[in-house]
């Protein structure tokens, strides 16, 4: 999704990911798998910034499961290719 959102020729330097409070994703493993997935792509040197939603009540999780279990790609920070640069 990050690659699809990045303009052609740009380099992705930061990816902000929001992780639900009850998701079982461990930050260490997210970083590890991200490094593997990003190899050879414009995101290869990107920082993966993970923000975990603070845990709420059971009622909150039921009312809004996405806040508890969702993975949301919030934004990407890109660096445009310098003018005249060859991609």
């Amino acid at each position: 999704m990050s690659l699809a959102a990045a303009p052609e020729g740009s380099e992705i330097c930061r990816i902000k990911l929001r992780v639900g409070s009850l998701c079982d994703a461990e930050p260490l493993w997210l970083q590890r798998y991200f490094r593997i997935a990003a190899r050879g792509t414009p995101a290869r040197d990107a920082e993966l910034a993970v923000r975990r939603v603070p845990a709420g009540s059971t009622e909150d999780a039921v009312r809004d499961p996405d806040s508890a279990f969702g993975y949301v790609l919030e934004s990407i920070e890109i660096r445009d290719a310098p003018v005249g640069a060859v991609p």
Binding site: E11, L22, T58, F69, G70, V72, S75, I78, D80
Partner: protein, 237 residues
């Protein structure tokens, strides 16, 4: 020298694609007159035993089939096929749940859908009629992940067996929030367990007021006709 930096807002769920796949799958199945039921519950909650007792009550006139999902083995599919039912085993490998893509693959294997049908943006292929009109998707035994991922089913059933305890709606509320009906299984154990059916009813109503509660025993057949009638009514509507 490097170029300028800027931030692009995306704000999209990583599971967005599965949401689109699920809607497309539901539409496609409805167009073919096929009703998909997702069974969720912990390992050992009695999902396969429930199906073995339920299918004879539905067929005829309904033509049921089953998709079995497990990390490995064909144990459940073999058990149902030995009783004469068509069952396809989906091996999920390390995956702890099914998604719409995997469900569609199994439905194609059953002959319910042509392989390319049920894909967002792909026009429905008329194809041959489905040989089945109700398909049960026995999800991986898991009370957490199965509740988070839409399979494309029309109806979600959560199973809770008596030996598991009546506190599960409190501990795993999201699954019970996603369930259109809760089926308390293995009620033949009620006289040996400290399990309060009314407490489960209250707890489920507190999470999902419109959810139905059924109490059944696949071993004795108790409560199975009521559950069969509920499904028949759901299909009609």
């Amino acid at each position: 020298m490097s170029g300028t930096s800027r931030i692009i807002d995306v704000r999209a769920s990583i599971l967005e694609d599965n949401g689109k796949n699920s809607e497309a799958l539901r539409r496609s199945l409805s167009g073919r007159g096929v009703f998909l039921v997702n069974l969720m519950g912990s390992p050992g909650s009695g999902k396969t035993s429930l199906l073995a007792a339920l299918l004879p009550l539905l067929s005829p006139p309904l033509r049921p089939a089953v998709l079995e999902a497990d990390l490995d083995s064909r144990v459940d599919a073999d058990a149902l096929e030995a009783r004469g039912w068509k069952a396809v085993q989906l091996r999920t490998g390390g995956f702890c749940h099914l998604d719409a893509f995997m469900a569609r693959r199994g439905l194609a294997e059953l002959g319910v859908l042509p392989p390319e049908d049920g894909i967002p943006g792909v026009p429905n292929d008329a194809g041959p009629d489905s040989p089945f009109d109700i398909v049960f998707l026995e999800n991986v035994g898991n009370l957490i992940c199965t509740a988070q991922v839409d399979t494309g089913a029309h109806l979600n059933l959560a199973l809770l067996s008596v030996p598991e305890g009546d506190d599960k709606p409190l501990k795993y509320p999201v699954m019970f929030a996603k369930a259109d009906a809760v089926v308390v299984t293995k009620t033949d154990y009620l006289d040996r367990e400290d399990f309060d059916v009314e407490a489960v009813r209250r707890r489920v109503e507190g999470i999902r007021p419109d959810s139905r509660l059924f109490t059944v025993s696949a071993r004795t057949g108790m409560g199975m006709p009521e559950l069969a009638r509920f499904l028949q009514e759901k299909i009609r509507t």
